[in-house]
């Protein structure tokens, strides 16, 4: 019983904060109920992670739920607004797509300039989104990609279908490991050069959550073919075969962005040199190719690590753990507890932007189905 007191306090505090950040106010009983449910769910995940000491399973449950909740919410919105589920005549404005950062960064800076100039900076807008990103980066850094991103759960869900990898691929060649950074730089350059959001127009298969442009001319047909091939390969097939998150680990430009700016955040996954036997289990399970054979020999984890915790769960000697700038914290509060609290709070609060609506929509649909 005493063993559960700490996790219970952790879970209640976490759920209370998620609910407080996202409470819709009085008047909407469905939404208030769904918000409460979501906060309780995040708190419960925190409880089980802390009690069991195993991170990856409950993190993945929350993370995958967020991805599919986002899909349900956005697809419903798209259907309601345009009457169409998969295609659209005109590009849709996505309110908060962080992956478009490479394509839209100049537009973003211009909007910030306009917001500052007009004095409207206090309103919800690009400037506020900038602060949200900065705050989240300072709080959880590169862990965004495994704890908060509402797209990442898509390839994670497929990577968890098979029990064992059918195709054990131990890493990408060192010179191609920076592919996401190369893609990020390329997207910034060509978007500036052509003044178009090239990543969104030509590459991003995650538009499945909103809508693809009508393939009514040759260029759009090619775009759709690229989305389909890239999406099926990196979100579905490679994750199923290799148990790796291929899109997040090798394509996503925001992953590269966070791996760079994530250095601002103090939390790290660190290998204890003295205990490591070089068994390579961490290398085998790392879903984002963040541990390489060369790196492991030096007990180094690359900046592409999302702090997902899978390597920590699998390490037979418990020699990988969360640290603050590579060091353990003195006193009773461990770096692990602190990190898990912030990561779940960030994920839960961002998820609260759409999860209560998605849950409420699902509940109403079920109610209609059973009551009619």
């Amino acid at each position: 019983m005493a063993n559960s007191a700490g996790p219970a306090i952790f879970a209640v505090a976490l759920a209370a904060l998620v609910a407080a950040f996202s409470w819709p106010g009085v008047g909407n009983a469905w939404l208030a109920g769904a918000t409460f449910l979501w906060a309780a769910f995040v708190g419960m995940a925190g409880f089980f992670i802390l009690r069991s000491g195993k991170i990856a399973r409950w993190r993945a449950i929350v993370f995958i739920a967020m991805a599919f909740g986002f899909l349900v919410y956005f697809k419903s919105a798209s259907l309601g607004l345009t009457g169409r589920l998969w295609t659209t005549e005109k590009p849709q404005e996505v309110p908060y797509c962080h992956i478009a950062i490479a394509s839209g960064i100049l537009n973003y800076f211009y909007q910030q300039y306009l917001a500052l100039k007009s004095g409207a900076w206090s309103r919800w807008g690009p400037l506020t989104l900038g602060f949200l990103w900065l705050a989240l980066t300072l709080i959880i850094g590169r862990a965004w990609c495994s704890w908060v991103c509402f797209y990442g759960g898509l390839d994670e869900s497929f990577s968890r279908i098979a029990k064992r990898p059918r195709w054990l691929y131990l890493g990408v060649p060192e010179k191609w490991r920076d592919l996401p950074a190369g893609i990020l730089i390329f997207m910034i350059l060509v978007s500036f050069s052509s003044l178009l959001p090239i990543f969104c127009l030509w590459v991003c298969p995650l538009k499945i959550t909103t809508a693809f442009l009508d393939p009514n001319d040759a260029a759009r047909k090619i775009q759709l073919a690229i989305f389909a091939v890239l999406g099926v390969a990196t979100i579905v097939i490679i994750p199923i075969l290799s148990k790796r998150r291929a899109f997040c680990g090798l394509i996503c430009p925001f992953g590269a962005w966070q791996s760079f700016f994530g250095g601002l955040n103090p939390f790290r996954a660190t290998i204890k040199k003295e205990d490591c036997t070089q068994c390579r289990l961490c290398l085998i399970v790392c879903p984002t190719f963040a541990i390489s054979q060369e790196g492991l020999k030096k007990h180094e984890i690359s900046p592409y690590c999302n702090l997902c915790g899978l390597c920590m769960d699998r390490c037979p000697r418990d020699c990988i753990d969360y640290t603050v700038f590579g060091r353990s914290l003195p006193g009773a509060l461990s770096a692990r507890t602190l990190f898990l609290f912030f990561a779940l709070l960030a994920g839960g609060s961002v998820g609260a932007l759409f999860m209560p609506q998605a849950l409420s929509m699902a509940a109403r649909s079920l109610a209609r189905l059973f009551l009619s």
């Binding site: 010179k175 920076d178 950074a181 190369g182 730089i185 390329f186 350059l189 500036f192």
Partner: protein, 204 residues
């Protein structure tokens, strides 16, 4: 004459951001991939690139003025797009040679003389680029009906647009990182493919 110089410089100055945008996908990945840490080395690299652009402008101004006088503006626009595609091919070849030096084809490419003075070649090919300011300058050039005036106009246009190349040197403090160099080479592969695809789409 002063009027022609002022006009060319003014056009370059007012539309040079486009030139910066056109040069960026070629020059920046190359600078990142080469990863020379010193200011002097990068200034020389930029100088070589600008020399290539200057040579392209002069050749183009002479030819375009001459052709303009002869055929009143019927210039082969596909040739301008071909130059963009060629710059993409060179960039791709350089990056592949850097990434796969053990593959025979890539090794042969690295030893090819055309790849020894790449910044000049890039400058030359990017210089002849069908971007809006360049087309505006071309139209004025044809209207001048004079090779000497055309050359002066393009010298001034070059000077105006070249000022926008200076921000490229801002990346120098970061060039020491091996990760950035590796990302730069990957970006060169992507940029090369992009430029080739764009060129083919325009020509076809």
């Amino acid at each position: 004459m002063t009027g022609i110089l002022a006009e060319g410089f003014g056009l370059g100055l007012s539309s040079g951001a486009y030139c910066f945008g056109a040069c960026m996908p070629v020059l920046l990945p190359y600078m990142l991939g080469v990863a020379k840490q010193r200011w002097r080395a990068n200034a020389l690299l930029l100088g070589e690139f600008l020399a290539g652009r200057f040579a392209a402008y002069m050749v183009y101004a002479t030819l375009a003025s001459w052709v303009g006088i002869l055929v009143e503006g019927r210039l082969p626009v596909w040739a301008l797009h071909l130059a963009g595609g060629l710059s993409g091919f060179f960039l791709l070849a350089w990056a592949m040679a850097g990434n796969f030096p053990t593959v025979n084809f890539c090794r042969a490419l690295t030893s090819w003389p055309g790849l020894q003075r790449l910044p000049f070649a890039f400058g030359f090919l990017v210089g002849i680029n069908a971007c809006p300011p360049f087309i505006a300058a071309t139209l004025r050039l044809i209207g001048l009906h004079h090779i000497g005036h055309g050359l002066l106009y393009f010298i001034a246009f070059f000077a105006g647009t070249s000022l926008y190349s200076l921000p490229f040197l801002a990346v120098v403090p970061w060039l020491g990182s091996s990760r950035l160099a590796s990302a730069g080479r990957i970006c060169s592969v992507l940029s090369g493919l992009w430029l080739i695809a764009q060129s083919l789409a325009e020509i076809l």
